[in-house]
């Protein structure tokens, strides 16, 4: 871990200014991802701006009938909120499918969205990795890639966004609210929040430097049946090989997003028209451009089969 300085900001704009004003500065929320990466010198911030005093830890009703989730609401608090459990079950289920109880107590809504990939080569500083060290190459593409992306990747990086919460937020069409150093707010649709790796895999999201997440907003409840199905080798405390977040209406129409397959939650709205025709009809177009590696080719049929399970359970219910 490199030496760094530390401060606690009092207001969102002040926090944003503090980070924007100093190259190498970063926000610190629960620290469950950032501190781990600092110990391994994968992240080497020179200055940390702790956001825990910003009072962004409330969940409020919005005028539109949705919910505004403060950036610092813990994963535990969000997943156990009665309104979330009633109206946005897919979100509560996605969160509790992730990490462990202790981590979820510490992890925040903003931090969760910004967690970095779990590509094993990203974690080993002896290895080439364009995401960790731009231009050094990608060790994973011809290496051990069982966990990694099957779609939307580039020849620079095949990492996935490893999280669960974002997949549910994507299916719910959430919006990420931010503020910049000038105090200007911005609303980023979740679909535009995470990026594909392209030629700049070191940039995970479309946040500007120093831009602070203040909240995540959910639109009005969608009704329907909410499912989050996470497939993994062990039953808990593991990242998804494939996950499915779905909201299925009683007439068989619905929405679906996949986790564990791409650098962002994978959803193509146009493909959802085929939901009533079954899983394969949806995934054929969703994964039409899939380019899996030898190690992770199984994820494509697995995605279809997982969605089929989700749909079948709905029909049985």
């Amino acid at each position: 871990m490199r030496l760094f300085t530390y401060e606690r900001a009092k207001t969102p704009a002040e926090a944003a200014r503090a980070v924007a004003g100093q190259p190498g500065a970063k926000f610190l929320a629960g620290g469950t991802n950032l501190i781990d990466l600092m110990k391994l010198e994968i992240e080497t911030p020179t200055h940390l701006v702790d956001v825990q005093d910003l009072k962004l830890d409330r969940i409020e009703q919005t005028g539109e009938g949705g919910l505004k989730i403060g950036a610092l609401v813990s994963n535990t608090a969000l997943a156990s909120d009665a309104r979330v459990r009633r109206d946005y079950g897919v979100l509560a289920r996605a969160i509790v499918a992730g990490a462990s109880g202790q981590l979820r107590n510490k992890a925040t809504t903003a931090g969760n969205l910004l967690q970095r990939t779990r590509c094993p080569y990203f974690y080993d500083t002896n290895m080439p990795c364009n995401k960790r060290k731009p231009g050094s190459g990608c060790a994973a593409i011809a290496g051990y890639s069982r966990q990694l992306a099957v779609i939307g990747a580039s020849d620079q990086c095949i990492a996935t966004h490893p999280g669960d919460m974002a997949v549910a937020l994507r299916v719910l069409d959430a919006t990420v609210e931010t503020v910049n150093a000038a105090g200007e707010p911005r609303a980023i649709p979740i679909a535009d929040f995470h990026r594909l790796p392209g030629a700049t895999p070191h940039i995970d999201t479309n946040l500007a430097p120093g831009e602070l997440i203040t909240a995540v907003t959910l639109p009005r409840p969608l009704g329907g049946r909410h499912v989050y199905e996470k497939v993994r080798d062990r039953a808990s405390y593991a990242f998804a090989l494939v996950s499915v977040a779905a909201v299925i209406q009683w007439d068989g129409t619905g929405r679906v997003a996949f986790g564990g397959v791409a650098h962002k939650p994978w959803r193509i709205e146009a493909a959802e028209a085929a939901m009533p025709q079954g899983a394969a009809a949806v995934t054929t177009s969703l994964f039409a451009d899939a380019k899996p590696t030898h190690d992770n080719a199984f994820k494509v049929p697995l995605a279809t089969r997982t969605l089929a399970a989700v749909i079948a359970e709905g029909n049985a219910a």
């Binding site: 871990m1 490199r2 030496l3 110990k39 391994l40 010198e41 779990r118 094993p120 080569y121 974690y123 080993d124 002896n126 290895m127 060790a139 011809a142 290496g143 051990y144 069982r146 497939v231 993994r232 080798d233 062990r234 039953a235 808990s236 405390y237 593991a238 990242f239 090989l241 079954g278 899983a279 394969a280 199984f298 049929p301 697995l302 279809t304 089969r305 997982t306 089929a308 399970a309 079948a312 359970e313 049985a316």
Partner: protein, 736 residues
């Protein structure tokens, strides 16, 4: 004391304390966080500096330059240890790995330097400032690719000859009415124990004392002496609590060697804990094996030909994974061929992990038996019953000391409800789950070795036992306490147990499941001596004296035991030595494992629904700790069956998933209700205490039972562990 004829009746047969499910002797310390582990000692070396290891960035080649200028100038740095100032570290007798790249690099993450600083954080930060240039050379990382050129190595110290024939295997196999000839793969596996390897080393002149985490004191002092180039007598190891080992802390690892070397270089005590991300490529692991099993049988199920050929790889000079050991003794059959080949690989050293040989060997053999049962149309339990033998199948003059294997099978089948299994695979479905049942047999050597103990009786009637035995979470303290209480006829709370100090009488330590049988035999010997000394002090004729209720009785005279120490403590020491019984009997432990799994028909996810083991291991010393060993073994077997694999990058030559996020071991949610039962037996040929080990038996046979259950559920036979969903996904029912 010499043990050379089978034991007759003795005080351990009373079973008033022995066998009882006593709580752990050190339970309170462990549950209150007050058991001190190696890295946590503060007072023993208040000025200890922190060492941090920099592992090699390449797998094979050499260091061409090291620049430590920036590191040495970094805050808090006391010194940097590399091959240039470390002296010439030797190599121990059991592990062949070199503790430092010097300057050749033998495997990835081999230690290149130790940075010693005032704080851990300073050492870690400064380690990132070392500049190392390497010349990389090609290495061998792929066992499958090296298989063709792997020789049958000369016999090593463990595991018997590498090739053995009985009868005439080839023609018998060719002529067999029913045959199985399949190849199975068990991947590299990590011990992944909770406590990392850790040491505080402190020199006093020519002598070094190390607070460490090690399973075998006698090997540890020997090997550290060899590595440091000092007499074994100048090494003291202290290791009262160990947070798991599974064989990965058998003897000296890098933490211990490098803490001692660094402390010598910087002239201050040094503490080192191996960082988790370098443990996987730095320390030993269970090496991958490719195993071909050939079984030939008559239509009656009797094996006529048993062949087992196995390949493993290791660093030059490393040992062969002795997978065929169990095949040599498990089933009857006149024509047998077992052969092991060893390739050279440039990965971290392969060496002992819980039930080396038997665990991976049975992962192959016991699937093959399942495949044979199916071909024969015979129940897998019955197939094992008809092939039982009461004598060593390679040497019929040697009977098994005890072999209630059929009893394990029958009781297990009964308790488990095996008769409800549908022999036809892929038939049972509950909603989205495909349900299957599987079983496997288990055999693991019941070893025992020379073991000493010291016993002291004081005027309050407290008996203190000392031995250099370790407790790696298994319950050693407790079974020592129980043995001594039983022998001396006192309540368990009159016994004080001190373990884990190499100045105590020598035992074989924790390894090869011989710890509990050996140390309790040593305690037996010491207690026999103490009884004699007590009787003598009190003026009894020792032949007729009864020790019970804290009193010494003979005829109508009854004296409190404590009275014997009124005139001063009584101190005795003895060693139990074992002789020819080992050669006269096949001493083994047995088990039968049963498992029920559910496989998601959609995703292929496998979950174990229940598992049960029936084990035979001689006298069970403590019903609770023995059960814990077995259910812990089943848990580890679930990992081996379903998820554990050190993934190799064939280009860079290393285990990629080198932390506990990437190397998955079972969590609570993977482990259902587990049952463990024991056959009520004693083995009088093993020791006066008549007990064999259970710790490794509990793991042996679990993974193949699960593998067979998965096959029964799905009808897809996977022969490559771990059985992850991708390996059978294609064979699952088509989706609508």
């Amino acid at each position: 004391m010499k043990f050379d004829t089978p034991a007759g009746a003795n005080p351990t047969d009373r079973m008033q304390v022995l066998g009882k499910p006593l709580d752990r002797y050190e339970a309170r310390l462990k549950t209150t966080g007050t058991a001190t582990y190696a890295y946590e000692y503060k007072d023993v070396a208040p000025n200890a500096a922190y060492g941090y290891i920099l592992g090699a960035a390449i797998a094979k080649g050499r260091i061409t330059a090291i620049d430590t200028t920036l590191t040495e100038a970094a805050p808090g740095v006391i010194g940097v240890v590399t091959y240039r100032n470390a002296g010439k570290p030797g190599v121990g007798k059991f592990y062949v790995q070199k503790m430092l790249a010097a300057p050749e690099v033998d495997h990835y993450h081999q230690p290149v330097a130790v940075v010693v600083a005032e704080t851990f954080e300073q050492a870690r930060a400064a380690s990132a400032l070392i500049r190392v240039d390497y010349a990389r050379t090609d290495g061998r990382y792929d066992l499958a690719a090296q298989k063709g050129s792997a020789p049958v190595p000369p016999q090593g110290e463990f595991g018997g000859p590498n090739e053995k024939r009985v009868g005439d295997f080839e023609p018998a196999f060719a002529a067999a009415a029913v045959k199985v000839d399949e190849t199975y793969t068990v991947p590299d596996q990590a011990h992944a124990m909770m406590e990392p390897h850790a040491t505080i080393a402190k020199w006093d002149g020519e002598r070094v004392t190390c607070w460490t985490s090690i399973q075998q004191m006698n090997w540890g002092t020997r090997d550290l002496g060899l590595i440091l180039g000092i007499p074994k007598a100048n090494v003291r190891l202290i290791s009262p609590f160990i947070g798991g080992g599974f064989g990965g802390k058998g003897t000296v690892q890098m933490d211990l060697a490098l803490a001692a070397i660094s402390a010598r270089v910087v002239g201050r005590p040094v503490k080192i804990a191996l960082q988790r991300p370098i443990m996987f490529n730095t320390t030993i692991h269970r090496p991958k094996t490719i195993q071909r099993v050939m079984l030939g049988a008559g239509r009656d199920g009797r094996l006529t030909a048993i062949g087992h050929e196995s390949w493993s790889g290791n660093l030059p000079g490393g040992r062969t994974e002795p997978t065929v050991a169990s095949t040599r003794t498990f089933y009857a059959g006149p024509n047998r061929l077992t052969r092991m080949r060893l390739a050279t690989l440039d990965l971290a050293e392969g060496n002992a992990m819980r039930a080396p040989g038997e665990a991976p060997g049975l992962m192959a053999l016991e699937i093959a038996m399942d495949e044979l049962a199916e071909k024969l149309g015979m129940d897998p339990v019955q197939l094992r019953v008809v092939n039982d033998t009461q004598v060593d199948p390679e040497d019929p003059s040697k009977p098994f000391s005890t072999r209630p294997f059929i009893q394990c099978l029958r009781e297990g089948a009964e308790q488990f409800g095996w008769d409800r299994r549908n022999a036809k695979p892929g038939q049972v479905r509950e909603g989205r789950w495909l349900i299957g049942m599987g079983m496997a047999g288990a055999i693991r050597a019941g070893k025992i070795a020379k073991s000493g103990a010291r016993a002291r009786l004081d005027g309050k009637g407290i008996i203190t036992i000392e031995a250099d035995m370790t407790d790696i979470g298994t319950g050693s303290y407790t079974v020592v306490q129980q043995t001594a209480a039983e022998m001396m006829g006192v309540a368990p709370d009159s016994i004080v147990v001190k373990l884990g100090d190499s100045t105590f009488p020598e035992t074989p330590g924790s390894g090869g499941q011989q710890g509990a049988p050996s140390v309790t035999a040593g305690v037996y010997a010491a207690c026999v001596k103490l009884r004699e000394a007590v009787a003598q002090r009190l003026g009894f004729n020792s032949a007729e004296v009864d020790f019970s209720d804290g009193r010494v009785k003979s005829g109508n005279r009854s004296v409190p035991l404590a009275d014997a120490a009124k005139g001063g403590d009584l101190l005795v020491e003895d060693v139990m030595e074992f002789d020819k019984l080992k050669d006269q009997f096949q001493q083994q432990t047995f088990g039968a494992h049963f498992a029920e799994v559910a496989v998601d028909a959609y995703t292929g996810v496998v979950r174990v629904r229940r598992a049960l083991a029936v084990c035979a291991a001689g006298r069970i010393l403590n019903a609770k700790t023995a059960r814990s060993q077995v259910i812990g073994g089943i848990t580890m077997g679930i990992g081996a069956a379903l998820m554990e694999e050190m993934a190799i990058d064939q280009r860079f030559g290393f285990f990629v998933n080198h932390d506990l996020a990437g190397y998955e071991v079972p969590v609570h949610a993977d482990v259902p209700h587990l049952d463990a039962f024991f056959i009520d037996e004693v083995d009088p040929t093993i020791s006066p205490v008549k007990a064999k080990g259970v710790g490794e038996l509990g793991l042996t046979g679990v993974a193949p039972a699960i593998a067979n259950a998965i096959y029964n559920a799905t009808g897809v036979r996977v022969r490559e562990y771990p059985i992850t969903l991708d390996k059978h996904l294609e064979g699952l029912p088509a989706i609508a």
